[in-house]
Symmetry: C2
Subunit: 316 residues, 2 copies
């Protein structure tokens, strides 16, 4: 058995997971980012202690503990180097955990962890080489190469969202211009749709739907309207899938995995998204004949964080 | 001992190589592309037979034979799928070799093979994860991940030259627009320099040097003039290093190797090129603190093809 912990901006989730990725017990608490690292850590320790109590009661043998964080972790120093949404910078989570719990501890990026989960019991199960791409507020990625997590020599790889693929009308949070994230995230869709309206794209149907949505442009609204052939929405989604296809083709031309799994909020557009992408990718892929990488939407939902974190040790 | 064969558009080189990458014997013949596959293959067989005679005389025990080709090879079917410069399409080189020689035979792309050679006794030696980028007429790549060649699930990966990174004034041979190859190859430098002249960029100094060079724009001329601070040449090289830095940063953000080795004709610009790239890459790399991927020029010259091909088996 393994303990998996998913630290997000809103909640900390914990679970006891078996090697098939089944969650045997789970619990959670609010993150409360405003408390700062040390108090959040103490709340986390309480959650872990409770989970060990359950494990003892059920006589589960816990072999390792894994933590997924929304940032970059340095495994050598057991520090979390950087987690913007948690307002953490160089916090010693790994060291603190090691001081308290006598078992192997692994920390990794949340997209990497979600990629592991898909590999354990999701859409990339059974494939040697897979890429998990999460399209949410930002764009993240996790690479599985030869059945192992690959994050690069200094754990700074798999930053798919910051691959530069063109020029864009606004800069990325990272400071650069043209990152995939600024074309293919939920934020990107919303911003470009707003830009079209600001520039005077007249679409009564869209404006009516927008007012029914409390004047909030969100990705679901834009996708729903695009599916109904609304012109403004189509223009926005069409641009997004153009650039996403370029980004995914770059990954295929470079890494040619068995499969790319698309997760995150935007992936809820499902087959509609996949059809558009598949139609476009064939134009960008260098070798068009014979077998190449498949693209599918991810299968696991909110539990992916716990499952993947629990099983990091099996993919290292 | 191993036999390594490097099939290029001009010559076929063969060598007997030990596991340290030292060439103990070598020979070569003209390729004569116009003869077509079967005659070229027969010439190759003669070259191989002669090499085996030498091996017998010297009592070398040959364990495997590897071939580097300027194209894509399908290892499962032992076919060469595609080699533009040789005018080969779906030729059964692997099968024909297996029918004639009773030892393990490996075929791979020439950039992958050069990457292996650098890893055996060049600049990437001793590094677990490395990327070899060749900047010549086109842009090619070879990936070493966890001390093994990585070419993807269907052998269609490591196509670094076809990573789309922006928009360009001419299309790539592959049919797409914006491939790294159209910004960072020798061809790209020459084309952009010509474009500047065509558009009326006045530079007497450049035109004088050009006429001394028999009015041929080549990459050496442009780099030499850029080093001497010529304005036209600087503009051209500056644009090339901008885009090359974006391409290399995409690789670092995605794969974060220990090292990227730059080879091919353009790499002869040496430290001048490296300085410019290193100055620019820091702007594009997502994680700027701590250790990250190094960039160096390759160490091996013309023999890289023989050495790398000979040792493919050790990197599979």
């Amino acid at each position: 058995m393994y303990i998996g912990i998913d630290i997000g901006g809103r909640s900390i989730k914990i679970g006891i997971v078996n090697k098939d990725g089944e969650i045997l017990y789970q619990n959670n608490t609010d993150t409360k980012v405003e408390l700062g690292y040390e108090k959040i850590r103490d709340n986390l320790f309480k959650l872990i202690d409770d989970t060990f109590d359950i494990a003892d009661q059920k006589k589960y043998d816990i072999r390792a503990m894994g933590i997924g964080v929304p940032g970059i972790a340095d495994p050598e120093n057991n520090y979390i180097i950087y987690a913007t949404n948690l307002k953490w910078k160089n916090v010693p989570l790994g060291r603190d955990l090691k001081a308290n719990y006598n078992l192997p501890i692994y920390i990794d990026n949340d997209a990497t962890v979600a990629g592991i989960a898909e590999s354990v019991r999701g859409v990339t199960k059974g494939y040697k080489n897979s890429i998990f791409v999460t399209l949410g507020t930002g764009v993240g990625g996790g690479l599985i190469i030869n059945d192992r997590v690959y994050s690069g020599s200094h754990n700074k790889g798999s930053e798919i969202g910051h691959m530069i693929i063109g020029e864009n009308f606004y800069d990325c949070n990272c400071g650069n211009n043209g990152c995939l994230e600024t074309f293919a995230s939920a934020t990107a869709i919303d911003k470009y749709t707003q830009k079209l309206i600001d520039e005077g794209f007249k679409d009564e149907e869209f404006m009516k739907a927008l007012s029914r949505n409390e004047n909030i442009i969100d990705t679901k609204l834009v996708f729903d309207l695009a599916k109904a052939n609304n012109k403004l929405a189509l223009k926005s989604i069409n641009r997004m899938t153009d650039y996403l296809s370029i980004g995914l083709s770059n990954l295929i031309n470079l890494l040619n995995p068995d499969i790319i799994a698309i997760g995150g909020g935007v992936s809820k557009a499902g087959d509609y998204l996949l059809e558009q992408i598949n139609d476009k990718i064939i134009n960008y892929v260098t070798f068009k004949e014979g077998k190449t990488s498949e693209i599918k939407t991810s299968q696991l939902g909110n539990d992916a964080g716990i499952i993947g974190a629990a099983l990091i040790s099996e993919y290292k």
